[in-house]
């Protein structure tokens, strides 16, 4: 079974998802157990695949044993392996977290929720490891549909925002599919490696430029790059707290990864129209970072603030993509990892506070640090990481991004990153002040002084603390991560 690892990463969660309604009919405890084992097996096989890729080079796995341009293949190289490990790890952690939200739901609702969640995991994992552009579209649709389902199950306002998310998401997917159509029209193949080879002579033709723009717009919509982010704030604000940490943390990042895969590997960063397109992406991302950070300051609802800060952080990844050099690539990929962990942790904290107090508005967070010390501790780490305070991971992705920007002599980007760090500081310290310094109204204080229950059930508190610790660990251990994995992943190899 050892040599089937790439398939297992995606197949195991898929299989368990398909059986979820059936298993839920018999016993929801068995369902929880199976769900956790599925995520755990997927995580272990992702780690194994990454290990194999690092030691023995990229791993090509042919489905149905058909050679690539004809059949579909999975490619585990350091980049996709690392992303698979990230996605499966976060899926495992958030799955443990959602357990207590579903405790009192009916068996069918639980079965459907586990099925949708595991399908979302399988869809995202499928997108990261696939080597076939159309297969990527299919798994994009699986993850999107399960995300629509998860978001829509959260009450009426969620339904309206889910509808807008469906519309915009499908427009994005159609743009991407037309882009794939253009590529298929001029090269005749759907396999990424084959595409790269056959595109080399054609890189100056207009059709490739149009394909680039289409894929960029398509994935830009799904990734919530600045002008195309309209759907994100409502979708994140009104969705149920059980589903949103994983969607917010990982979905937009996998879409950003797809753009990285296209622009760094398939189109190649230096030839044809790519530098021109990337420069436009850079300017849009820079504008997006500033405006989204400013909008985040204006929010009073904690989750909406996090949503706008997500749009800003995705701008960083866009910036790293547009730099095109080694440090830009390292900064972008490292920021994908950091931001996935940070955003997941912050939304877990938001969900935890909602579970404990039912509050979302920031001014209701008064004296929260006394009631939920560990949760707010993890929030503190996440906030410092978003602002970019050194020992945490967020600082080091800014370190590489600015280094890449200086290397390309693009000083405007340096100013933008610095300015946005300060804007982040403004809206995060506002929440820190509220949670740590302000006094709660007297009525509320008696309420929480005498309830002796632990701040959160263990199944919720452990993921929050684990992710908080991860932020610090990834920050401190970023050098081995960068030198061993990211440098190997860069198309030019370890420069």
């Amino acid at each position: 079974m050892k040599e089937q690892l790439p398939a297992l990463i995606v197949i195991v969660p898929l299989l368990i998802a398909l059986l979820s309604p059936l298993v839920a009919y018999f016993s929801t405890r068995l369902l929880r157990g199976l769900g956790l084992t599925a995520a755990a097996v997927s995580f272990v096989s992702a780690v194994g695949a990454l290990g194999h890729a690092l030691t023995k080079g990229p791993w090509h796995y042919y489905f149905g044993n058909w050679a690539p341009p004809w059949g579909i293949e999975y490619v585990i190289d350091p980049l996709s392996g690392l992303m698979a490990v990230l996605v499966s790890f976060l899926s495992l952690v958030v799955l443990i977290y959602t357990d207590s939200f579903l405790r009192e739901e009916g068996w069918l609702k639980q079965g459907i929720h586990y099925a949708l969640y595991l399908l979302l995991t399988a869809g995202l994992l499928g997108m990261t490891v696939t080597g076939d552009v159309f297969n990527l579209y299919v798994f994009l649709e699986i993850s999107s549909l399960s995300a629509y389902g998860l978001i829509a199950s959260g009450g009426y306002k969620a339904t309206v925002s889910a509808f807008r998310y469906v519309l915009v998401g499908t427009v994005g997917a159609s743009f991407y599919l037309l882009g794939v159509g253009y590529l298929y029209a001029i090269t005749g193949s759907l396999n990424m490696a084959d595409l790269t080879v056959r595109l080399q002579p054609l890189l100056d033709s207009q059709a490739v430029l149009i394909a680039m723009v289409l894929i960029l717009v398509g994935m830009g919509i799904k990734m919530a790059l600045f002008p195309l982010h309209g759907w994100l704030p409502d979708a994140y604000t009104y969705s149920p707290p059980a589903a949103i940490p994983f969607i917010a943390g990982v979905m937009t990042k996998v879409m950003a990864y797809v753009l990285l895969r296209y622009f760094f590997f398939i189109f190649g960063v230096l030839n044809g129209f790519v530098p021109l397109v990337l420069e436009v992406v850079g300017w849009i991302a820079a504008l997006g970072i500033i405006l989204a950070s400013v909008m985040a300051i204006a929010q009073s609802d904690f989750r909406r603030m996090l949503a706008f800060s997500s749009v800003a952080q995705v701008g960083y990844i866009g910036l790293g993509l547009s730099l095109g050099n080694m440090f830009g690539f390292i900064g972008a990929v490292f920021h994908i990892i950091n931001h996935a962990i940070m955003k997941c942790c912050l939304f877990l904290v938001a969900g935890g506070v909602k579970w404990k107090t039912g509050e979302h508005l920031i001014e209701k967070y008064a004296e929260m640090s006394r009631r939920m010390p560990l949760t707010m501790g993890a929030f503190l780490l996440g906030a410092f990481s978003m602002v970019g305070i050194p020992p945490t991971a967020g600082f080091f992705s800014k370190w590489y991004l600015i280094l890449g920007a200086i290397e390309k002599d693009l000083w405007i980007y340096v100013v933008v990153i610095i300015l946005s760090s300060l804007l982040n500081a403004i809206y995060f310290f506002r929440v820190i002040e509220q949670a740590y310094l302000k006094k709660a109204p007297v009525a509320e204080r008696e309420k929480f002084v005498e309830d002796k229950k632990p701040e959160l059930p263990a199944t919720m508190l452990v993921p929050i603390v684990v992710l908080g610790a991860c932020i610090l660990v990834v920050g401190i251990l970023n050098e081995p991560l960068v030198s061993n994995i990211l440098l190997m992943a860069f198309p030019g190899g370890g420069l």
């Binding site: 390292i330 410092f384 602002v387 305070i389 050194p390 020992p391 600082f395 080091f396 800014k398 370190w399 590489y400 600015i402 280094l403 200086i406 290397e407 340096v414 610095i418 760090s421 300060l422 500081a425 310290f429 002040e433 740590y436 310094l437 006094k439 401190i476 970023n478 050098e479 081995p480 960068v482 030198s483 440098l487």
Partner: protein
């Protein structure tokens, strides 16, 4: 673990010991205050022992250098106990021991709440200060620099009232912006040179165009000058006086502000180097800013009625002595600057301790209310007089020695005007300190002071304050007493000017 490994990694243990203590303090919490306080004292004493154990080796000209692990691509967490670093480390660790006892007494006397958070943040601040002292490359320096910024914020907003929250915001605005500017400078150097390791005599010569080097110098000095309280960017320091007095004493007299001054010394001595700065001509501008700060801050100090605000502006002025020393680019000037870090720290901490003692016992904060306090609290005011007179530059108190070297340094550099600045500032500091001493001892005591008859401050606060006063006198007479700080300062100045680490005793 082999003994050799233990000894070689001492700088790292010095940093980690108080981090561990901070964790233990948070764990013990408010339930067992005595146990919590022992953690602080154990950590303080332990840190002092570790630091002092490294002294003989460094005094002999040696250097302890380790790179435990890499923190970013091509950059490692590089710690080095060299002469300049030891000066700051010895000073900070010694004064932390004293401040720990003082703050226990102060906190117990005023029954402050949130004491667990207070002591934990204090411990983290001190570990960051050690990190700054021992940092051997720009990124390590910056990592601990930012940790210090964040760890000081809870101490500034300790009282949780509206005024301290506003002061906290101001503090964060200044220091975070400075941190980001400093970061851009570091990244530019990292890009130009590929590493950021401190090299006595500087490593940037010829690495980029003059314009680029000047901008980098501007970015870096702006980043550190905010913490060093150089005039245009000093705004946060007076408003941070809302913090409890032990915080103002140790952090705003020793740890945080000195980190900024020490940063400028590092940049001038170990990143750019005197020769390069002379060519760039930017050191002159820095010297003017420092001189401007010395004079103007002394003038403003005179107008301050709140005792702690007056001490704050005096700190701003005295810190610019260090900046001036560094900016003179002459061996004696740099040595004077580095030694002034020690001198000012010891004297100013005494003054802040006195201010705290007076506040704790009589709730008085305004200078105008202190008439006749000398008779009520003779020892406190005695120590206050020693500190005040020391700052004005009276011989046989440590302030005089550093001021003497600074004057010599400015003459050595041919910039006599700064001698005038130093003399004028001595007069001005006399103008804002001596009236307090005179009022305290010779003026008839105010009705509410007499009514109190509260007598001396309690023992836990009085002893530290007397110790620091005694130290400032002892150091005034024997500058090398206790830790050979004078030699260390001389050695670091010598190594900066000559350009290599191993340098014989002065």
């Amino acid at each position: 673990m082999s003994m050799e490994f233990l000894l070689a990694y001492r700088p790292l243990w010095a940093i980690l010991i108080s981090l561990v203590a901070a964790a233990l303090i948070m764990l013990t919490g408010d339930k067992r205050p005595n146990l919590r306080e022992t953690w602080t004292i154990v950590a303080a004493v332990g840190k002092m022992l570790i630091v002092f154990s490294m002294l003989p080796l460094v005094l002999a000209g040696g250097v302890i250098e380790i790179e435990p692990f890499k923190i970013a691509r091509g950059v490692s967490l590089h710690l080095r106990a060299d002469a300049a670093g030891m000066v700051f480390a010895v000073l900070a660790s010694f004064l932390w021991v004293v401040t720990s006892f003082y703050s226990i007494g102060y906190m117990r006397k005023l029954q402050e709440e949130h004491q667990t958070g207070y002591f934990a943040c204090f411990a983290v601040c001190l570990s960051a200060t050690m990190g700054i002292a021992f940092a051997a490359n720009l990124l390590t320096f910056f990592v601990f620099y930012e940790i210090l910024t964040i760890a000081t914020y809870p101490l500034v907003v300790h009282h949780r009232d509206q005024e301290s929250i506003k002061a906290g915001r101001k503090y964060l605005a200044y220091t975070l912006i400075a941190g980001q500017l400093f970061l851009v400078g570091i990244l530019w150097v990292q890009f130009l040179v590929g590493h950021g390791d401190f090299q006595p005599g500087g490593f940037l010569a010829g690495k980029a165009s003059v314009g680029a080097l000047q901008t980098i110098f501007l970015l870096m000095t702006l980043g550190t000058a905010v913490k060093a309280g150089v005039m245009p960017v000093h705004g946060w320091l007076p408003s941070a006086m809302v913090a409890p007095t032990p915080v103002s004493a140790l952090l705003h007299a020793v740890a945080v502000v000195k980190a900024g001054a020490f940063g400028i010394v590092r940049i001038v001595g170990y990143v750019f180097g005197p020769q390069l700065l002379a060519q760039l001509g930017v050191a002159q501008i820095l010297a003017w800013f420092a001189a401007f700060t010395i004079i103007v801050s002394s003038l403003i100090a005179m107008a301050q009625d709140n005792l702690k605000k007056r001490l704050a502006f005096s700190t701003i002025g005295q810190l610019s002595y260090v900046v001036l020393g560094a900016a003179l680019l002459t061996p004696l000037g740099i040595m004077g600057g580095i030694f002034h870090i020690v001198a000012h720290a010891v004297m100013k901490i005494t003054l802040f301790f006195c201010a705290g003692a007076i506040f704790a016992t009589t709730q008085l904060t305004r200078v105008s209310e202190l008439n006749g306090i000398g008779r009520e609290m003779p020892y406190t005011m005695g120590a206050f007089t020693v500190g005040a007179v020391g700052i004005t530059g009276l011989p046989f108190i440590v302030g005089f020695i550093s001021k003497w070297n600074l004057a010599l340094g400015s003459l050595q550099g041919g910039q006599g005007v700064y001698v005038g600045v130093l003399l004028l500032s001595s007069l001005l500091s006399a103008a804002y300190f001596l009236p307090i001493v005179y009022a305290a001892f010779f003026k008839k005591s105010e009705p509410q002071v007499a009514k109190h008859h509260c007598g001396e401050a309690n023992k836990m606060m009085l002893i530290p304050l007397l110790i620091t006063a005694a130290v400032s006198i002892v150091l005034g007479v024997f500058p090398n007493a206790g830790g050979g700080l004078y030699d260390l300062a001389a050695m670091s100045a010598q190594s900066i000017v000559s350009g290599q680490f191993m340098v014989g005793g002065w």
